[in-house]
């Protein structure tokens, strides 16, 4: 099972909530499907995101995919380590491969996201 302390989107992003801040990345399943990730394009800090709006782009050797914000809020920080080492997303998707931190604008949005069990059902169904 995927980590139970995270919430998930149908687009395969995860979110970890800590107080009024959320950390966002893509799931191990998504990273595996994309293959070797070669580039991650992330927003500047300070940008306001709407829930499910595009916040960046992840590029693997075979595809380029948009990244969707699981929750609304202002971007507090991005994972600068990904600029030089995008492979962190494959190596440690739920940890060192995190992408952005968001100041939660609508904390209630988190409750709408999938829990670990529901996400496992989603990915098992393919």
């Amino acid at each position: 099972m995927v980590p139970t302390d995270l919430r998930y989107t149908k687009d395969h992003e995860w979110v970890r909530v800590d107080g009024d801040e959320a950390t966002v990345g893509i799931t191990e399943y998504a990273a595996g499907q994309l293959g070797d990730i070669v580039f991650v394009e992330l927003p500047d800090a300070g940008r306001a995101l709407e829930q499910f709006a595009t916040f960046g782009v992840v590029e693997s050797v075979k595809a380029v995919s948009d990244l969707f914000a699981p929750v609304s809020g202002e971007v507090l920080a991005t994972n600068e380590a990904l600029t030089g080492s995008p492979e962190l997303v494959n190596a440690d998707p739920h940890g060192g491969g995190w992408m952005i931190r968001i100041k939660l604008a609508k904390p209630e949005e988190v409750d709408e996201l999938l829990d670990a069990e529901a996400y496992d059902v989603l990915t098992a169904a393919g």
């Binding site: 580039f39 394009e41 590029e59 693997s60 075979k62 595809a63 380029v64 948009d66």
Partner: protein, 478 residues
């Protein structure tokens, strides 16, 4: 097949094209025997005047192309409509594109060059769109001194985005160049942040722009700076990378491609490394294969339309491989010194042209520095242009033909010279102009034939001097 598609007729497939725009019937003449048809086509081709002394530039320039360029282009290996996606069978094509990119990158002093676009106008529009994607802003400022066709092309590409024109200075030493004070004002609007500023070097009037200053103003407003350049000029002018351009676009035609009417031409597009993922089209990179040997591959493929669909960097997913190859062979054949000679000789010929025209009382429209093209003030320019054509001289472009709504350009000709311009042609232009302006009649009915003789026989039959830096005296043939 219609039944499978669930449609009643072929017409339904074209439903998206408005009915008045659809061809109902092809209006073709009756078939003719091949012999007769060939004669008719030769007659049509004979209407082309290839013996003119041409001073026409305006974005397309005549240069001498070494015979090696066309000869190498004839090799059958280059003729393929196939995109070299599979590196294992396309090393030759991929290497030729890689070398093109490397040569243009050196000319531009920028990091990344695309595998080419349709023409300079298309490349400029793509550059403008790049600035919007990179900055997430929607407003682009284009100098009015950028080629009018390029500005129109940018407008055509910019559905939903804003394009605004930066005026040019009307009077004084900077007249004809981008108005920096106006640019500063346009950049200052906090509610409408600017994505990119586009200016040409040399600009449409042939004048040199204060590119570094334009770039500083753009960057001060966190906008990107796009330089529209003429590639031969880069052998003697500062390249875009040196004056802070983030993106450079230009027409590659002067690099070994004939000035064929309307194309096919070659769109040059280069950028800094920071914008590598915004550059549209394809890029070819060098890498090593499994055995550690040098290999060429398409890179950044994942950004193209067949993979990214509507999110692609451009909806144009092709390149001008054969013409890019022509440019590569041309640049490689001339080498850096040869290219510098071409640019410097063109500038010297243009200075000679300026002096010859001044000698018959025709002065420049703008006082600023130029390289090999400039506008001159001529009353009734379109009429004079037509009369010079009767005398075998193509007197550049009557600016009113391309900018009819600009009163300041009503009485002006845009003229250029390159290394192929001869002193005799310059003298012919100046004396023809003098005749026309002083109301003298044309030299005679055989003007066209005379023009051809001078071109091939260099006036030997007429006993004229080969070079005539001073305006030749009025000649009236008996």
């Amino acid at each position: 097949m219609l039944a499978t598609l669930g449609i009643g007729g072929v017409d339904e497939l074209f439903a998206d094209i408005p009915a008045p725009l659809r061809a109902s019937r092809l209006d073709l003449p009756e078939p003719e025997p091949e012999l007769q048809l060939a004669a008719r086509l030769e007659g049509l081709a004979g209407k082309n005047r290839t013996n003119l002394a041409s001073f026409l530039g305006a974005g397309v320039y005549r240069h001498w192309t070494p015979a090696a360029v066309d000869q190498l282009l004839l090799r059958g290996e280059w003729y393929t409509a196939y995109t070299p996606y599979q590196p294992e069978i396309s090393q030759g094509t991929l290497q030729s594109i890689y070398e093109y990119e490397s040569l243009i990158a050196e000319l531009m002093a920028l990091d990344v060059v695309s595998a080419s676009h349709y023409d300079g106008a298309a490349a400029t529009a793509e550059a403008a769109l790049m600035t919007c994607r990179a900055t997430r802003r929607q407003r682009v400022l284009v100098s009015r001194a950028v080629h009018p066709h390029y500005r129109q092309t940018v407008q055509a590409y910019f559905g939903g985005l804003e394009v605004e024109e930066i005026p040019v200075v009307a009077e004084g030493p900077e007249s004809g160049t981008t108005d920096l004070a106006a640019l500063e004002r346009l950049l200052a609007d906090p509610d409408r942040p600017v994505a990119g500023v586009v200016a040409g070097q040399p600009n449409f009037f042939g004048l040199l722009e204060p590119m570094a200053a334009i770039g500083r103003l753009a960057h001060g407003a966190r906008a990107l700076f796009v330089a529209v350049v003429e590639p031969v000029s880069l052998a003697v002018l500062a390249p875009p990378g040196e004056y802070g351009a983030d993106i450079a676009a230009g027409e590659g035609q002067p690099l070994g491609i004939a000035p064929q009417y309307g194309g096919p031409y070659l769109g040059l597009l280069a950028s800094t490394d920071a914008l590598v993922r915004q550059i549209p089209g394809r890029l070819v990179g060098m890498t090593t294969d499994l055995d550690g040997k040098r290999a060429f591959v398409m890179t950044m493929r994942a950004r193209e339309q067949d993979i990214r669909r509507d999110k692609a960097a451009s909806n144009i997913c092709t390149n001008q491989a054969l013409l890019a190859l022509a440019a590569s062979i041309y640049v490689a054949t001339l080498g850096p010194h040869g290219l510098r000679d071409v640019a410097a000789l063109g500038a010297a010929r243009a200075a000679e042209l300026e002096a010859a025209l001044a000698g018959v009382g025709v002065g420049r429209l703008h006082p600023g520095p130029y390289l090999n093209e400039f506008a001159v003030r001529v009353p009734s320019a379109r009429d004079v242009h037509r009369k010079l054509l009767d005398r075998g001289v193509l007197a550049g472009l009557a600016l009113a033909d391309i900018e009819p709504d600009e009163p300041s350009l009503a009485d002006a000709l845009l003229v250029c010279a390159t290394e192929v311009t001869t002193s005799e042609e310059i003298a012919r232009f100046a004396s023809g102009l003098e005749d026309i302006l002083s109301g003298r009649p044309p030299v005679g009915v055989e003007a066209g034939a005379g023009a051809e003789r001078t071109r091939h026989g260099r006036h030997a039959a007429e006993g004229q001097p080969e070079s005539a830096p001073e305006p030749a005296p009025t000649r009236v043939r008996a």
